[in-house]
């Protein structure tokens, strides 16, 4: 593959729960992601898809294998990789504006530039007028908008999204998927997005990576050839349905394995 942005090279990960035996989460995993590619990872619960994201984020210590970004090894978290979590992870003691400003405060720029950038991103996620609200006063969808604004404000090269719409109701999820597509369309980034929603994966991805049941390996990758820019109407196309069916069959196999059912 040309233009590789991120490279997972024989990555293994084993964790030991506080009381219990070590569990192998990932096994010799290889994956290359191109610059500005939108890659979605799907797989059964507990297959290590979030672990993969946390390793790339530098949040978990990598013992076996290597993860490279632009050829440099990942050793710790950094502002080149922004992350959005399923449960928003907003600083509850900061207002919307203060949350969005947090990453900007660590960049060299004037105070007015910072304010301007923060406002621009609050407007981008359509939260104009909520600048001085506390996160506790917002709905789940609005909280996730704040988290997206906070992450985009610092302009990371790589966007990590850990089931970002998984805690939202169906309507809100649909709206945010659409907006994410629009934002990504105008501000390309390399995205690694984890979900267990197959439709969401097909709607968003350039490439869907299906992971196996634990220990997580890559079972298969599927190129999504739907044209861009995509709107929710694309879900009505035969091609979309075919992709979903193919991926769903792969995930289902692994989910059954994970739950101990013989196929």
């Amino acid at each position: 593959m040309t233009n590789t942005k991120i490279k997972f090279d024989k990555v293994e990960f084993t964790y030991t729960p506080p009381s219990g035996r070590p569990v192998q989460a990932l096994e010799r995993l290889d994956l290359d992601i191109a610059t500005d590619e939108f890659v979605v990872i799907v797989g059964p619960s507990g297959c290590g898809k979030s672990t993969l994201l946390y390793l790339l984020g530098g949040f978990l210590p990598l013992v076996q294998g290597e993860i490279l970004i632009d050829g440099r090894k990942v050793t710790r978290p950094g502002p080149d990789r922004g992350i959005v979590f399923q449960h928003f992870a907003l600083f509850p003691w900061k207002t919307v504006r203060q949350n969005v400003l947090y990453g900007l405060e660590r960049k060299t720029m004037s105070a007015s530039q910072r304010q301007e950038l923060a406002q621009k991103h609050i407007d981008l996620v359509k939260l104009t007028g909520f600048e001085d609200s506390w996160p506790a006063q917002l709905s789940g969808g609005m909280k996730q908008r704040v988290a997206i604004a906070r992450t985009l404000a610092t302009d990371p090269d790589v966007l990590l999204m850990d089931e970002p719409f998984g805690a939202l109701d169906a309507q809100t999820r649909g709206i945010l998927q659409e907006e994410l597509l629009a934002i990504w369309g105008s501000r390309r980034k390399t995205v690694l997005f984890v979900t267990h929603d197959v439709n969401e994966a097909v709607l968003l991805a350039d490439r869907v990576v299906v992971m196996s049941a634990r220990p997580g390996r890559i079972k298969s990758t599927i190129k999504i050839k739907l044209p861009r820019p995509r709107t929710p109407e694309v879900a009505l196309s035969a091609q979309f349905v075919d992709h979903c069916r193919e991926i769903w069959d792969l995930v289902r196999e692994e989910a059954l394995k994970a739950s101990g059912v013989r196929t």
């Binding site: 984020g57 949040f59 502002p79 922004g82 992870a89 990453g103 506390w134 506790a136 006063q137 610092t154």
Partner: protein
């Protein structure tokens, strides 16, 4: 206005009952002086300036002891949460000290520090330390990984993460610990002043009681109650303000 009247009606009734039982001779005057006698004595003690001297001495001790406990206790609690080494060094002493009634330390501390100011401050400090350490420790441990990771990926280093995420996340538990310590500080203040002080409300209560001035003793106890109540209300106001972000 009406709700306040309804809320405090039982207290008014209790005071009326108190006044009546003393006035009618149902209870002997030297066992329970009438409420009006107590108030009169309170006025005398206040007007002479005597009460103020003792209140001042007590407040200074309580504030010093509690202030020290908050500073050192929260520092220790955060260190415990942050470092496995600190935990190994400090945890055993904490586990051992936890069940000890802190007033049991009073005689020992008087032997070490004498009958001065320092002994009472030390008793309050030691007694208040534990709930504050535990509040800071539990609070810091409760900081969610995803918040810490968010800060790190927004460019915060380890020190910034401690100040901007872990300590604010610990605040609710820490403030609850301080509230427990505040109540404890009054108990320890009065009991330590009763045995080893020449000034302060604890001293005044036991001095007046020993001298048979029961009205004065009740008046002093009344003042302590009022200060304790005011301190707790004031603290609650600060607590609510600092945690105002939680109220949606």
């Amino acid at each position: 206005m009406k709700s306040i009247a309804v809320r405090y009606a039982p207290i008014v009734m209790l005071i009326a009952l108190w006044e009546l039982s003393s006035r009618t001779g149902l209870v002997a005057d030297d066992v329970l002086p009438a409420f009006s006698t107590v108030i009169e004595r309170l006025w005398q003690l206040s007007a002479s300036g005597e009460m103020l001297t003792h209140v001042g001495a007590s407040l200074l001790r309580a504030a010093s002891g509690l202030g020290l406990a908050i500073t050192i206790g929260s520092g220790l609690g955060f260190a415990l949460a942050a470092s496995a080494l600190a935990q190994r060094l400090i945890q055993p002493s904490l586990t051992f000290l936890y069940p000890l009634p802190k007033s049991a330390l009073i005689p020992v501390i008087i032997i070490w520090l004498g009958f001065g100011h320092a002994a009472q401050v030390a008793v309050i400090f030691l007694g208040c330390l534990l709930p504050i350490i535990l509040g800071a420790y539990n609070g810091a441990r409760s900081a969610e990984n995803t918040l810490i990771w968010s800060a790190r990926s927004l460019g915060a280093n380890a020190v910034e993460t401690e100040w901007h995420v872990i300590i604010p996340a610990a605040l609710p538990d820490l403030l609850a610990g301080i509230r427990v310590a505040l109540a404890l500080s009054f108990v320890l203040l009065i009991s330590s002043e009763m045995v080893g002080a020449q000034r302060g409300m604890g001293f005044l209560i036991s001095f007046l009681g020993d001298g048979g001035d029961y009205a004065g003793m009740f008046a002093s106890a009344f003042v302590v109650t009022a200060i304790g109540f005011a301190a707790d209300r004031g603290y609650l106001a600060v607590y609510r303000y600092l945690l105002r972000y939680r109220e949606a």
